[in-house]
């Protein structure tokens, strides 16, 4: 019995060597429980050691292995070959990012934006809170529910890759960064909203978003960044009209 195989059409680009990205096709064994990442690793270990890509956990939680699979941003550790078989699988670097090499994109822009939105608990007494037994800040399951969904982001960048706004305007803060800011704004333990709003409420923040909604569709963790952005728009608008109509209040 001959082993069944599947073709993998992979975008290659080696700086200094290739002037343009090219497509290289590899034939790998087909197994119905293999994911695209398994096939890429097979290529690297057995066919072509020069193929470069990122991966770490192989269980859909580290966020390393996002790529375009047949034109859609996906975690390659969760995209099965069987979804394409017997057609060939097209593997490209995540869209909307500068490509550094082969399937590796530059996400420094996101890393910078992430720190801009201050994604951590802000409160004046944070460093003086007592620690240990019984000193947790109380938070009911319902209060946890308020933000938990937005804390599921694994920074895999699929949402940026699906966002045409980010593609056209790279200054846009983007779905994941805003979702994470929203996660902290909604956390009952946090008091830092006023420090985050000038960034996420700026013209390059939430207002660039036109609610295409594809970020939430491709999110492998059901974070719904689109909801985070629309809700932040609503809250910011409320704040804005309040401060205009009652400039004396809340200063």
């Amino acid at each position: 019995m001959t082993e069944s195989t599947i073709k993998l059409a992979v975008t290659r680009y080696r700086p200094g060597q290739d002037r343009e990205p090219t497509v290289q096709t590899y034939t790998v064994p087909y197994h119905d429980d293999w994911v695209v990442l398994d096939a890429l690793q097979y290529v690297k270990d057995n066919i072509d050691g020069t193929l470069s890509f990122r991966w770490s956990c192989h269980m859909g939680v580290c966020g390393s292995c996002g790529m375009m699979v047949d034109g859609t941003p996906k975690l390659t550790c969760a995209a099965f070959l069987r979804e394409s078989y017997p057609r060939e699988v097209r593997v490209e670097p995540l869209a909307n990012f500068p490509v550094v090499r082969d399937l590796i994109v530059d996400i420094d822009d996101f890393m910078h934006k992430l720190s801009e939105v201050k994604p951590y608990i802000i409160r004046e007494d944070l460093d003086s809170l007592p620690l240990g037994l019984g000193h947790e800040l109380r938070q009911t399951p319902a209060e946890l529910e308020d933000f938990k969904q937005f804390g599921m982001c694994i920074n895999c960048m699929l949402c940026y890759s699906a966002c045409p706004v980010y593609a056209m305007e790279p200054k846009f803060l983007g779905p994941a960064a805003i979702a994470l800011a929203h996660r902290y704004n909604m956390d009952s333990r946090d008091q830092g909203r006023n420090q985050r709003m000038p960034v996420i409420g700026s013209s390059e923040g939430i207002w660039e978003c036109t609610f295409v909604g594809e970020c939430s569709v491709v999110c492998p963790k059901h974070v719904d960044p689109a909801a985070a952005i629309q809700r932040t728009k609503l809250a910011t608008t409320n704040d804005w009209f309040k401060s205009m109509l009652m400039p004396w209040g809340n200063r």
């Binding site: 429980d33 270990d45 020069t50 956990c57 966020g63 951590y120 037994l133 800040l137 946890l144």
Partner: protein, 573 residues
């Protein structure tokens, strides 16, 4: 070559590395955090079940109880002063994580919830659903962003430690983005590089867990300790090795054999599914060997049955288990049992350090899974390791920062020369490597060797066979070829450097396993089935020599300061 100076340099951006970085930054020193992946990709992210500490007393919990569980779980190989400090600091660190935003699961009154875990005699494992590691890692990583003192160097692969004048003075690293080698000098260097589960074929560990920190320290002359104790987790998904958290049993799941029997009643009836991992893993293998396993595509398994827990509890407390089982093996645990088998999960051993995280090599520290500071002994209790990363990450970071503040600058010239030598070494070794062996093939053969011969049950013969095969693999590796001669993201070169480390670390696993002629914790010898405290109530220390590891032994610390020490006794549950 660029030279980058910091007071404290941390290699590894997982939970331990980040905790050390914050602790050092709080001390006011400059901190460099070098990691071969972005911190949020670190393997901490895959931890599921939770983190243990005495954070509630309404469960009947106490520090003494947590201490005793840990010592007993370790099969008495833990250093008791270290375990004592650990249980005392555990709650502080977990509540600190709470203040830093970790979304811990809660009781209706808003206090933190705890769940049952293997080897823990009461409910004491704090959890964030079943993605505890993910939530802890992201919370601490995001918190680290507010410390200006921490400068990150993401996707930099450390190739060697700079040892000059008898001290560790920093590292040489390859920036993957540019392919450039850079020198990082530091007065204190902390290895927080995690484990080496990728030495085995069937592992819960991510691709990155190649034990680079073990390799770096070992080559620099620091000893690796207790490497004969890799932990086998009882519930890995066949095929991928994806972890099904122990919390699945903590929440009430059953382990059953082919006949549907909860076979643990024959092995550990007092604890059943909540026994320690070493005992349950052995029980599973014994069942399969007795023909009571369930045959499957990837060999025999036993079954983890969660059906009686019901839809609601599974969705609320074990949603990731459901997601993983559905996605990777097409089984919905609400309706069908999940096939599982023991899987390499964690390395109890590591770079030998004292309670401060300091290794015998001055200036070199280690913490987290990369370290063997004495907490875990021969078997770690599930949910102690996330806490371990925090407790010893924090302490190591603080001590390293204070040491750094008192240490004068190193001689720049000597260090630059070392850096140039390292770049030349790698260029000479791999730059033009055109042999007939592929990196991936040798890695894969290494993993199969370890899987076949250094498993849950071992014999002197299987281990000696493993040592022999490792020698062959090392010989083959001299003929390895690296096809990629470009600089930017040369992941093949990085893989070659990793496998180079792995081949040496594998020897530090096998050598003490041969010499330890007893069964203790995760080392189960068919030819020496009993524990032997007379001879082996000791940590192994593996030192590197040209002819492979040289093993020395170091007594276990059996004394404590304020808690009551637990003298070694038969380990009965």
């Amino acid at each position: 070559m660029d030279v980058i100076k910091h007071d404290v340099l941390i290699v590894g951006g997982g939970l331990a590395g980040l905790r050390a970085a914050i602790a050092a930054a709080v001390e006011g020193v400059s901190v460099g955090l070098v990691s071969k992946v972005y911190p949020m990709r670190s393997h901490t992210v895959s931890a599921e079940g939770g983190a243990a500490a005495v954070v509630r007393t309404d469960t009947g919990d106490s520090l003494q109880l947590h201490f005793e569980d840990t010592i007993k779980g370790s099969d008495f190989l833990a250093d008791q002063n270290v375990a004592e400090y650990f249980v005392q600091e555990a709650a502080n660190e977990l509540i600190q994580m709470e203040h830093w935003g970790c979304p811990w699961s809660r009781e209706p009154d808003g206090s933190v919830a705890v769940r049952a875990f293997g080897g823990m005699s009461v409910h004491r494992t704090m959890f964030a659903s079943d993605k505890s590691g993910f939530h802890m890692l992201h919370a601490i990583f995001q918190t680290s962003l507010k410390y200006d003192k921490i400068v990150r160097y993401d996707e930099n692969f450390v190739t060697s430690l700079l040892v000059d004048d008898g001290r560790c003075q920093g590292v040489v690293a390859m920036d993957q983005r540019s392919g450039e080698f850079r020198l990082f000098t530091a007065k204190a260097t902390i290895l927080a590089t995690g484990g080496c589960g990728r030495l085995w074929a069937f592992t819960t560990n991510g691709f990155i867990n190649t034990g680079d920190g073990h390799g770096l320290a070992y080559r620099a002359g620091a000893p690796l300790s207790d490497m004969e104790f890799p932990q086998y987790h009882p519930t890995g998904l066949p095929g991928t090795g994806i972890l099904i958290t122990e919390a699945a049993r903590g929440e009430g799941g059953y382990l059953v054999n082919k006949n549907g029997d909860r076979f643990l009643s024959d092995y550990i009836p007092s604890r059943m599914e909540l026994g320690p991992r070493d005992i349950i893993s052995r029980a599973e293998i014994t069942e399969m060997e007795a023909g009571r396993g369930v045959p499957g595509r990837y060999g025999d398994t036993v079954m983890l049955d969660l059906r009686h827990l019901g839809d609601e509890l599974i969705n609320r407390k074990l949603p990731f288990v459901r997601e993983l089982a559905e996605r990777y093996i097409g089984i919905d645990p609400v309706h069908n049992p999940i096939p599982v088998r023991p899987v390499v999960h964690y390395m109890m051993g590591g770079v030998r350090t004292d309670i401060d995280g300091q290794s015998p090599l001055p200036g070199l520290f280690a913490c987290g899974e990369a370290a063997q500071e004495g907490l875990n002994g021969a078997n770690r209790l599930g949910s102690n390791s996330l806490t371990e990363c925090l407790v010893f990450g924090a302490r190591t970071g603080r001590v390293a920062a204070r040491l750094a503040a008192q240490t004068p600058e190193a001689s720049a010239a000597a260090i630059e020369a070392l850096g140039a030598d390292e770049e030349a070494r790698i260029a000479a070794r791999f730059g033009e490597a055109t042999g007939d062996e592929r990196v991936g093939q040798i890695r894969s053969d290494l993993q199969l060797t370890m899987e076949r011969l250094v498993g849950v049950y071992r014999t002197g013969d299987s281990l000696k066979q493993a040592a022999e095969e490792l020698r062959t693999l090392k010989e083959r590796f001299t003929r390895v070829r690296v096809d990629d001669h470009t600089r930017v993201f040369n992941m093949e070169l990085q893989a070659a450097l990793e496998v180079d480390f792995m081949l040496e670390i594998a020897e530090t696993v096998v050598a003490p396993s041969i010499l330890r002629e007893e069964s203790r914790g995760s080392q189960a010898r068919r030819d020496f089935t009993d524990r032997d405290d007379e001879k082996f109530l000791v940590h192994s220390l593996a030192y590197r020599t040209e002819n492979g590891p040289q093993i020395e032994w170091q007594p276990v610390i059996l004394t404590t300061e304020s808690l009551t020490a637990l003298p070694p006794a038969e380990r009965k549950y």
